[in-house]
C-alpha cells in the first residue's frame, strides 16, 4: 500500500531532476578558497539533485548571497537553538505542516512500517566527505546497536512493542528500516525540532570509536576532551543538538566555527549545503550567523537598540511596545507571529505529588474542574494580554484541523458559584476561620504553586489567580525556583501544583503523535512519575493508577498501531475530548502573539506565521537559509 505521504515523497523526487543544476555563481565568501583549490567549485559541491526551494512560490523572492545575521542568546547552552532554527532534516515539515523530503531525495512508506530512504547522489557533509548509506549503517550498527555506547539498547522512539526495525542497505544511496508493526510517528520524529538521529558522519566519527581506533590514540582523545571513557567521548564529539564541536561535519545550512566557552558563537555557510533557490543560487543566502551571549533579562533591551538582526528567543509579548517604539530609531522591524502553545500560562496540578492529602484531592476531577471554573480568564486576558488572546482551556488552537470549540470552552467559563458547589461536593465543604476550605485531612487549603521564575507574566497571572481562588475558598501561594531545581522537585513529588506553559504543540495534525496528551515524558508536570515510566520503557517510575490516565495510555498505544488517517483523527478527538473533560491541566489564555524582530533589510520573512518549539521549530519551517539582505553588507 502506498500512502499519501509516500506519494508526496515521490512527487518531490519526480519534480526535482527536471531542473537544471546550480546555475548561480560562486559565493563571494568562498571564492578565495575555491580559487586556492581548497574547495571544489559550487557545481561540484552540490548533490546531483539538489533541493530546489521556490522562494517565489513561498511568497518571497529569490535573493543574493552575503551578509551576516546577528542574534542574541541567553546563555552558552542556547547555541542549541541553531540546529532547531536551521532545520535541515531527513524529512521535514513545510509551512503547511506537511511532511516532505529535505535531506533525502525521496522516501517511500509501505504499510506505515517499511520506510525506504533514497539519499541525494553526490551529497556531502560540510567537511566534504560524501554522505552515503555508510553513514546510516555506521549510526545503526556501530552506535545504536552498540551496547557499550547505548546501555539501554536502541532508543524507545525506534522500538515498536520493544522491537527495533530491521535495517538494510539497498545500495550506496538507499537504506531501509522495516518494522513488523506500524510505526506512524517515525517520520514526525525525524521532522521534530530535536530529531531522531539516524546518520552520523562515519568518516569523522570512526576516530572516536573503539572498534576503529587504536586504544592509545583513543586514550589521548579521552584525556584531551576531559571525559570518563570512550563512550562519553563518542557522545560528546557526535552531539548534533548542541553544535559545540566545530569539527563535527554537519548537513545544516551553517556550520559552527566556535567551541565553547565563548561569548560569541560564529556559524559560517556550509559550502556543501543541499538546497538551491529557483535561480540556482546555493543556499543559505546569509554567509554568517553570529550569536552573542547576553543576560536573558537584557535581550529585549539590546534587541530594542538594534543589536540583533533576527530575534525570537527571550522576547515576550510584553516587550512588543518597547520594540515597536524602537522601530523609529533603529533599522528594525517587529512582526507579530502566533505562539503555538495550547495555553500561554497553565496551572498544572501534580497528580503524583508526595503530599497524600493533596494528591487525593487533586485526583478528584471535580476539584480540577472547580479550579478551572474559578479562573476569570477575561480578566487575565485583559490585564496581561491587552484582551488580544483567546480565553481557552489548555487545548489545540483554532488553526489546528483538530480544533473543536467545545474543547476550548470545556470548564473554561468563569463560574465561581458552580466551582464552590463542586468543591463542596468533593468534600472540601468545611472552612477555617480565615474562610479557607479545609482539606478532608483537616488542613487549610493552602496551595503552593511553584514557578520556574522565568517570566514576570507568570507572576502577574498568578497574582490575579490568587484572588480568583480566594473567591472559592482556596489559598494560593507562589514559590519561585529555578528551572532545573523545579523539574527535579516535580519528579520528586515535592510540588503540588506548578505553573508552566500549556501544550507545546497547539496546532497538531492527525499525523503528529498525540504523545503530549498521555504520560510519555518525565517533564510532564501533571504526571512526571507516570511519564518517566513510559519514557524509560517501564524501568523507572510507576504505571498510572488512575483509570482516566490509563485511558490516555491505551489511546496512545492504539494511535501507534493505526495505519489510516481517519483512525488517527478519531483517536486524536477521543483524547482531546477526554482531556477537555478531565481538565488535567488548567489553561488560561492561548493564541498569544510572539514578537519577532528582524533587520529591516532582511527579506523573505513571512509577516504572519505560527511560531513555537513544536511543530515549527521556531523559525525552522520558514527556512532561515532563504532569508537574505536586500543590499548586502
Amino acid at each position: 500500500m502506498i500512502t499519501r505521504r509516500a506519494t508526496l515523497g515521490l512527487l518531490a523526487a519526480a519534480f526535482l531532476p527536471g531542473l537544471a543544476r546550480a546555475g548561480g555563481g560562486e559565493s563571494k565568501y568562498l571564492k578565495d578558497k575555491v580559487d586556492a583549490g581548497e574547495l571544489p567549485p559550487v557545481a561540484e559541491r552540490l548533490p546531483k539533485v539538489p533541493r530546489v526551494v521556490n522562494t517565489a512560490a513561498l511568497g518571497g523572492e529569490p535573493g543574493v548571497q552575503g551578509g551576516s545575521v546577528r542574534m542574541l542568546i541567553g546563555g552558552q547552552r542556547d547555541v542549541r537553538l541553531m540546529p532547531i532554527n536551521s532545520y535541515s532534516r531527513l524529512v521535514g515539515y513545510d509551512r503547511d505542516l506537511k511532511l516532505q523530503a529535505d535531506i533525502l531525495e525521496s522516501y517511500t512508506v509501505e504499510e506505515e512500517r517499511i520506510f525506504t530512504f533514497r539519499l541525494r547522489e553526490g551529497h556531502r557533509w560540510s567537511s566534504g566527505d560524501p554522505f552515503t548509506a555508510e553513514d546510516f549503517r555506521y549510526c545503526w550498527e556501530d552506535v545504536i546497536l552498540n551496547r557499550e555506547l547505548l546501555k539501554g539498547g536502541p532508543p524507545t522512539d525506534l522500538l515498536v512493542e520493544g522491537k527495533p526495525p530491521i535495517f538494510s542497505v539497498i545500495d550506496d544511496v538507499t537504506v531501509r528500516y522495516a518494522w513488523e508493526k506500524p510505526i506512524p510517528d517515525f517520520l514526525p520524529k525525524l521532522a521534530s525540532p530535536i530529531p531522531l538521529v539516524l546518520a552520523l558522519p562515519a568518516a569523522y566519527m570512526r576516530q572516536f570509536h573503539k572498534k576503529f581506533q587504536a586504544a592509545d590514540v583513543l586514550e589521548k582523545h579521552i584525556i584531551k576532551q576531559r571525559v570518563d571513557d570512550w563512550r562519553g567521548l563518542h557522545i560528546k564529539m557526535s552531539r548534533q543538538t548542541r553544535p559545540e564541536n566545530p569539527d563535527l561535519p554537519t548537513l545544516e545550512a551553517w556550520r559552527p566555527r566556535t567551541a565553547p566557552p565563548a561569548e560569541q558563537f560564529i556559524f559560517e555557510r556550509n559550502p556543501f549545503f543541499h538546497r538551491i533557490d529557483e535561480n540556482g543560487t546555493q543556499l543559505p543566502y546569509v554567509d554568517k550567523v553570529v550569536m552573542n551571549v547576553s543576560s536573558p533579562d537584557l535581550i529585549s533591551a539590546k534587541t530594542a537598540t538594534g543589536e540583533s538582526d533576527l530575534q525570537v528567543a527571550n522576547l515576550d509579548f510584553a516587550d512588543y511596545t518597547l520594540l515597536k517604539n524602537a522601530e523609529t530609531i533603529y533599522p528594525i522591524n517587529v512582526l507579530l507571529w502566533k505562539r503555538t502553545l495550547g495555553s500561554r500560562v497553565a496551572l498544572v496540578p501534580n497528580l503524583n505529588c508526595g503530599d497524600e492529602g493533596w494528591r487525593k484531592v487533586l485526583r478528584d476531577v471535580r476539584v480540577r474542574r472547580a479550579m478551572s471554573l474559578a479562573l476569570n480568564r477575561t480578566e487575565i486576558n485583559k490585564a496581561v494580554f491587552y484582551g488580544l488572546g483567546q480565553e481557552s482551556a489548555n487545548t489545540v488552537l483554532p488553526e489546528s484541523p483538530l480544533f473543536k470549540p467545545e474543547y476550548a470552552k470545556a470548564w473554561a467559563a468563569f463560574d465561581p458559584d458552580q466551582a464552590n458547589r463542586l468543591l463542596d461536593e468533593a468534600g472540601l465543604d468545611k472552612r477555617d476561620d480565615e474562610g479557607l476550605r479545609l482539606l478532608p485531612d483537616g488542613r487549610s487549603a493552602h496551595i503552593v504553586v511553584e514557578s520556574a521564575g522565568e517570566s514576570t507574566l507568570e507572576t502577574d497571572v498568578l497574582e490575579l489567580i490568587t484572588d480568583h481562588f480566594r473567591l472559592v475558598g482556596l489559598g494560593l501561594f507562589v514559590r519561585t525556583s529555578q528551572r532545573d531545581i523545579f523539574r527535579s522537585r516535580a519528579i520528586g513529588g515535592e510540588i503540588v501544583m506548578s505553573v508552566w506553559y500549556g501544550l507545546d504543540n497547539g496546532v497538531p495534525t492527525p499525523e503528529m503523535s498525540p504523545l503530549e496528551l498521555a504520560p510519555t515524558a518525565d517533564d510532564q508536570l501533571q504526571w512526571p512519575v507516570w511519564g518517566m515510566y513510559y519514557a524509560t520503557v517501564k524501568t523507572k517510575g510507576e504505571p498510572p493508577d488512575m483509570p482516566e490516565v490509563q485511558y490516555l495510555v491505551d489511546k496512545l498505544t492504539a494511535w501507534e498501531m493505526t495505519t489510516t488517517e481517519a483512525e488517527r483523527e478519531t483517536i486524536w478527538h477521543d483524547m482531546l475530548k477526554h482531556h477537555a473533560e478531565q481538565v488535567f491541566t488548567i489553561g488560561t489564555v492561548n493564541g498569544i502573539s510572539q514578537p519577532i524582530v528582524r533587520s529591516r533589510r532582511l527579506r523573505n520573512i513571512p509577516a504572519k506565521a505560527l511560531c513555537g518549539f513544536q511543530p515549527t521549530a521556531f523559525l525552522g519551517v520558514y527556512m532561515p537559509d532563504t532569508f537574505w539582505y536586500e543590499e548586502s553588507a
Binding site: 533579562d297 537584557l298 529585549s300 533591551a301 530594542a304 510584553a318 516587550d319 512588543y320 511596545t321 518597547l322 515597536k324 517604539n325 480578566e379 485583559k382 490585564a383 496581561v384 491587552y386 484582551g387 488580544l388 493552602h446 503552593v448 521564575g453 514576570t456 502577574d460 497574582e463 490575579l464 490568587t466 484572588d467 489559598g475 501561594f477 507562589v478 514559590r479 519561585t480
Partner: protein
C-alpha cells in the same frame, strides 16, 4: 609688640574702656546661667538640637511620615488591592483647580483609554468635558483599619464613577499613591522594629561582655566574628528560604524583621563592649560598686548614659540601613512577598526595561525611599551633636 618699651620712668601706654562699669555683672550672669545649670539633660539636648535646622526639619518630616503610616488606610484613595482592569498603566493625572477659566476646586478630567493597535500601547487622553471633582472625607473602597474594624472613609476619593490616579497605576491598574502609602507602613516600621531588636541584643550582649570580660567576653567575641564573616546575601537567602511560603504575610514580615535584627546587632555589640571596657575603669564605677550597686544598675545608670550620643547616632544611621536592607531583600525576591507591599516590592515590580522606557512613574517609590533615608541621616547628625551638650 614692635614698639620699644618706654624710657625708664615714663608712663606705659594703656587703654581704658569708657563703658559704664557694673560691679554686679558677674552675679547677674550667674542668675542667667542658673537656667542652664539647672536644666535637665533632655532640655540641654533640645536647645542644642534646635540650632541644627536641617535636623529639626528632618525630625518634623519623619514624625509626620510616621503619623501618616498609622492611618494609611484613611489617607490612601484606594484599597491596596483594588484593581482597575480598564486603567492599566495609566499615567499620573494632573490635579486641576480651574475649568474653562472658572475656579471649581480640586478636580481631574476623566480619561478615555484607547489601545494603539500599532504599538499595542494604552493611550490615555483627557476628556476636557468630563470634570470629576474630588470628594473629601468620603466613602470609597472598604478596608479593615489595622485589621480591626471595617470602614470605608477616606481622606480623598475620586468622583462617583470616576477615577483619580495621582501617581498613575501599575500593570494591574492599581493606584500607585495608595500602594506607596501602604508600602510606607511596612518599610518604615520594619526599620524601626529591626533597630529596636538589634539594640536590645547589642546593648545587652555587648554590655555584659564589656563589663564582665572573661570567658563570656571571649565567647561573644568569637560568635560575633563568625557572624560577621558570613557573606550576607547567601545568609539572607538561606534565612528567607526557611520561612515557609504558607505563612501569613504578617508572620513573614515579623520573620524578615527578626532576620534583619539578628544580623545587625554584632557591630553595635562590639562598640558597646569597647566603650564599656574603658568606662568601667572610671572612679565613679568603682564608687558605685563600693556602694553595692549590681552590674545591671551600673551598666544602665552609670555606663550607658556615658555613650548615649554614640548609641543615638548609630540608631538613626541604622534605621535607613534596615530600610535599604528590606528594600534590597525584597528587590531580590527574598524578602517580603506580595500581597504584602513595601517600597522594595514596588521597586522590584519596576525593574524591567519596559517600565523604565514606557511607564517611568512606576519608579516613583524611589523618591520616598531617598527622602526618608536622607531625613534619618540629617536627624542622626543633629542628635549626635545634641547628645553631648557640654562639648
Amino acid at each position: 609688640m614692635k614698639t620699644p618699651l618706654p624710657e625708664p620712668g615714663a608712663p606705659l601706654g594703656h587703654y581704658v574702656s569708657d563703658a559704664p562699669f557694673d560691679p554686679y555683672a558677674a552675679e547677674r550672669k550667674v542668675e542667667e546661667l542658673k537656667v542652664i545649670a539647672q536644666a535637665s539633660q533632655f532640655q540641654l539636648m533640645w536647645w542644642q538640637f534646635r540650632r541644627h535646622r536641617m535636623a529639626l526639619a528632618s525630625g518634623i518630616f519623619l514624625i509626620a511620615v510616621y503619623l501618616m503610616i498609622a492611618i494609611s488606610e484613611f489617607l490612601s484613595p484606594y484599597n491596596l488591592h483594588t484593581r482597575n482592569i480598564d486603567f492599566i498603566y495609566s499615567p499620573p493625572q494632573t490635579l486641576r483647580f480651574m475649568h474653562e477659566g472658572s475656579f471649581v476646586g480640586p478636580f481631574v478630567y476623566g480619561q478615555t483609554m484607547r489601545l494603539d493597535m500599532d504599538t499595542l500601547q494604552r493611550v490615555y487622553t483627557d476628556d476636557r468635558t468630563d470634570v470629576q471633582k474630588l470628594r473629601f472625607f468620603c466613602r470609597g473602597d472598604s478596608y479593615r483599619f489595622w485589621g480591626l474594624f471595617q470602614s470605608d472613609v477616606h481622606l480623598v476619593c475620586p468622583a462617583k464613577d470616576g477615577e483619580f490616579f495621582f501617581l498613575g497605576t501599575d500593570r494591574l491598574g492599581r493606584d500607585m499613591l495608595s500602594r506607596i502609602l501602604y508600602g510606607a507602613r511596612i518599610s518604615l516600621t520594619i526599620g524601626a522594629l529591626g533597630v529596636m531588636m538589634s539594640f536590645v541584643l547589642g546593648i545587652v550582649i555587648g554590655g555584659l561582655a564589656g563589663y564582665h570580660g572573661g570567658i563570656f567576653d571571649l565567647i561573644v567575641q568569637r560568635v560575633i566574628e563568625v557572624l560577621q564573616s558570613i557573606p550576607s546575601i547567601p545568609l539572607w537567602m538561606a534565612l528567607a528560604a526557611i520561612i515557609p511560603v504558607t505563612w501569613s504575610p504578617i508572620l513573614v514580615y515579623v520573620g524578615i524583621t527578626i532576620i534583619l535584627g539578628m544580623l545587625d546587632w554584632t557591630g553595635l555589640a562590639r562598640a558597646v563592649r569597647s566603650k564599656l571596657l574603658a568606662l568601667r575603669e572610671e572612679d565613679y564605677v568603682l564608687a558605685a560598686q563600693v556602694m553595692g550597686a549590681g552590674s545591671a544598675r551600673i551598666i544602665r545608670r552609670h555606663l550607658v548614659p556615658g555613650f548615649m550620643s554614640h548609641l543615638i547616632a548609630s540608631a538613626t544611621l541604622t534605621i535607613p540601613g534596615m530600610i535599604l536592607g528590606e528594600t534590597a531583600l525584597s528587590f531580590l525576591g527574598l524578602g517580603l512577598r506580595p500581597p504584602i507591599t513595601s517600597w522594595g516590592i514596588l521597586l522590584t515590580e519596576a525593574r524591567s526595561i519596559n517600565i523604565i522606557a514606557l511607564y517611568p512613574w512606576l519608579l516613583f517609590p524611589v523618591v520616598p525611599v531617598v527622602l526618608v533615608i536622607l531625613a534619618f541621616n540629617f536627624l542622626g547628625d543633629g542628635l549626635r551633636d545634641a547628645a553631648d551638650p557640654y562639648k
